[in-house]
Amino acid sequence: MTLFLSIVRRAFSVLVTLFGVSVIIFIVLRLLPGNAVTASVGVSAGLLTKAQLASLDHYYGVGQPAVEQYFSWLHALLSGNLGVSLVYRESVSTLIGSSLPVTLELAAVTMIFGVAIGVGFGMWSALHPGRWQDDVGQTVSVVGLAVPSFILGTVLVVLMSTKFHYFPSSKAFVGLFTNPWLNIQQIVFPAIVLSLGIGAAILRTTRAAVLEVSGLNFARTALGKGVTRRAFVWRHLFLNALTAVVTMSGIQLGYLLGGTVIIEQIFILPGMGRLLISAINNRDFPVVQSVTLIFAAGFVIVNMAVDLAYALIDPRTRNR
């Protein structure tokens, strides 16, 4: 029952957060100079007659009171209608429907790689403190954190294409179930690039948490009682360090949704990041609002999931 109440409470806070985010997105977009008409036709707007401009203003909803625009959007949103793209004249749901799976797949594969790198090297490093294994782990974490993903991505693309004439992402993107082999090739390289930074952050957290736990009394007691090495590492050290690892993984997953924006540009993936950049450039308000809200929703939902995961991992937190 306590867990149920906790879920309800957090779900409510998610809704409040998303409402706040929607207001902020709406206001910020309208504070930017320019409107959808000039974004759409550029300086050619100067060539239009007053009657033509009035026609476009009506189409783009320019001049409608902001409050009216907001509640009209919110009402449509709650009805499941994300509106119509001002640029492509296509339903925003359709645009997001084709972009979101790409970003979700990229994020999922990236997290798998990132957690594997982070937990793997983090444990390896923590179990050999001060030795060469630790140095390797530390080096991986420093490199992963220091090298920006867009530089790594660009270098990888240039190397693959010039040395191996291989750049699978430049072919038209295919879904996992349409052509699994090509899809894997298109996703795996950007996922590797993104996962290095994420893996590095998880690595440092894992190492620190495991080192901390290994110095606690219960760990020494377990060793003194003669538990096997494997049981000591995975049941006593890793499980007790897991809360910190999950927290860091959750934070990284939240940031990852935004981090895919640049990598999707470099690797030509038609995901949410590319959709967002294009929509911002074109002042395509319905698309920008919806995509940003989805990114924000992803972030807060992941955080909620992490909070709830604590209860599963650590029984002590269930009653808090």
Binding site: L32, P33, G34, N35, T38, A39, S40, V41, G42, V43, S44, A45, G46, L47, L48, T49, A51, Q52, L53, A54, S55, L56, S85, V87, Y88, R89, E90, L95, S98, T154, V157, V158, M160, S161, T162, F164, H165, Y166, F167, P168, S170, A172, F173, I184, Q185, V188, R229, R230, Q265, I266, F267, I268, P270, R274, L275, I277, S278, N281, N282, R283
Partner: protein
């Protein structure tokens, strides 16, 4: 413990092996079949832009023009030498003191829906373009037309309110493309393109690709390439990578630094595009209201150096009319090249011997070379005591200020046209739509523009337009700088592709391009 180590070692080996296999397999398939699309008759063109709209009457984006220019056709078109030649009209004649234009239509032209084009389609298309509800940005090109009428099934007559030979040049834009009257009436033209061009619309995936297939009924002969796909690749570096990986056959590029990375196995075409860079000046108030202050800027400017700094010399310095039969030569009537002594004498004549200050706006979002131009010019003007401050704006902020004339000076990349009236009538003509951003107006300029527009003889127009060039540069209305190159990297299995200088129809040669 040893067992765990062995398992780890096996797992690591498997992971590494699978990664190597993944790359190796990909490499093998890429090497064995470098252009898999070519075998199926598909030509893929990489570009950083994306097609946004499929209604030719409302497009403003260059790639939209290029894509729809392969699906739709216009009454006349510009050839590679920027001369007006027949397209859907085979001949034309001005009469009634250049106030009437009669066009004879090409027979046996079919739309994609199979219907035959008639004069009724032309009338409906031009009426749609003129209608306010359409918001066609090129409607002003036929603004002088008061009546559009069919005179038999193959003849159309345009009646103008005043003599206007430039209307013919305006008819070459895709914004005035010909479409079926029935589709206009039914309202389907906004969703389903239906033209007479060499290709037919197949699909548009927003922000990703635009696909066309060969039109078997094309009056000029069906194209040999089955499918043309315009693929959006967000960065030029990635276009270069996709070319080298063999997944695209043509890459449209604008950055000389990227062009240098293209291997010699590709042919690189370059062409001066039909646009120009200029420093537009608001000449109504402040020091720039003084003609000699503006002339000082013109003379202190080293255009060649700006061209070098901004685009690595890939282009040429130009005057008001960059290309075509009336191209400005020399680029300035007062200072064709930098002349600091003359600049100082103009400053003295302006009563500003110690120089003056002004602010110029730029937008790298709209023109990536904008700031580089400004920085180069800033140091040149400083040599005669003119202090130019630079304000770099976001794209839409720049457009807003530009449209309202809220600037002293603006680095701009403007579209050009071989016909000076089409280019500058909108800025400096009587009641010009863009007179506010133009920042300058004079009766002399208006009269010179009208004289050229009303003159239908080639020699007479050449003289009129030279006079206009001299007025524009002699008064340093703006400071015209340069025209840059556009590039296309073309794979060796593509034949007959020629990049056109006309930005809006750069891909027109795809009608006759072949693919091995």
């Amino acid at each position: 413990m040893k067992r765990i180590t062995r398992v780890r070692a096996l797992a690591s080996t498997a992971l590494v092996a699978s990664m190597i296999a993944l790359v190796a397999t990909g490499v093998t398939s890429a090497s064995a079949s470098p252009q898999p699309r070519a075998a199926t008759g598909t030509l893929v063109i990489g570009t950083t832009n994306s097609v946004q709209k499929i209604d030719p009457d409302v497009v403003t984006n260059f790639l939209d023009f290029e894509a729809l220019g392969l699906i739709y056709q216009t009454l006349v078109q510009e050839n590679a030498n920027l001369q007006i030649v027949p397209d859907l009209a085979t001949s034309w004649a001005f009469s009634n003191g250049n106030k009437t234009l009669t066009l004879q239509l090409r027979p046996d032209v079919r739309f994609d829906d199979g219907t035959t084009m008639t004069s009724a389609d032309v009338v409906a298309s031009l009426n749609r373009a003129e209608a306010s509800a359409t918001a066609d940005p090129s409607a002003s090109f036929i603004g002088s037309v008061t009546n559009i009428a069919a005179s038999g099934p193959d003849t159309v007559v345009l009646t103008m309110s005043h003599p206007d030979v430039s209307v013919l040049e305006g008819l070459a834009t895709v914004n005035l493309a010909i479409m079926p009257a029935a589709s206009i009436t039914a309202g389907t033209i906004t969703k389903t393109p239906d033209g007479t061009g060499p290709y037919e619309y197949q699909s548009l995936v927003a922000n990703t690709s635009f696909t066309m297939v060969a039109n078997p009924n094309y009056w000029g002969g069906a194209p040999s390439i089955g499918t043309v796909e315009l693929e959006t690749i967000p960065t030029e570096q990635s276009i270069s990578a996709a070319l080298q990986a063999g997944t695209i056959q043509i890459g449209l590029l604008s950055q000389p630094t990227v062009v240098k990375t293209i291997p010699s196995s590709f042919s690189v075409q370059k062409v001066l595009d039909l646009s120009y860079r200029a420093l537009m000046l608001q000449d109504k108030k402040g020091p720039l209201a003084n003609v000699n202050a503006r002339r000082a800027i013109a003379c202190a400017t080293n255009r060649q150096q700006i061209l070098q700094d901004a685009v690595f010399g890939q282009g040429k310095t130009v005057g008001p009319v960059p290309l075509g039969p009336y191209a400005t030569s020399p680029v300035s009537s007062i200072c064709p090249s930098q002349n600091l002594a003359k600049a100082k004498s103009y400053l003295k004549a302006a009563g500003l011997s110690k120089g003056f200050s002004f602010t110029a706006i730029t937008s790298d979002a709209l023109d990536s070379t904008s700031s580089a131009q400004a920085i180069a010019m800033q140091s040149q003007l400083a040599k005669v005591g003119i202090k130019m401050s630079i304000q770099n704006l976001a794209g839409n902020a720049y457009i807003q200020d530009w449209l309202k004339g809220k600037f002293q000076a603006a680095f701009a990349e403007n579209g050009a046209d071989p016909d000076p009236y089409v280019m500058y009538g909108r800025y400096f003509g009587a009641g010009a739509d863009l007179n506010v951003p133009a920042g300058y107006s004079s009766k002399t300029l208006q009269q010179e523009l009208l004289a050229g527009d009303e003159n239908s003889t080639a020699s007479g127009q050449a003289k009129d337009w030279q006079t206009l060039n001299n007025t524009l540069t002699g008064n340093a209305v703006w400071i015209w700088l340069f025209d840059s190159n556009d590039f296309a990297a073309v794979a060796s299995n593509v034949h007959g592709f020629v990049l056109s200088p006309v930005n809006t129809t750069q891909l027109s040669s795809l009608a006759t391009t072949t693919l091995n």
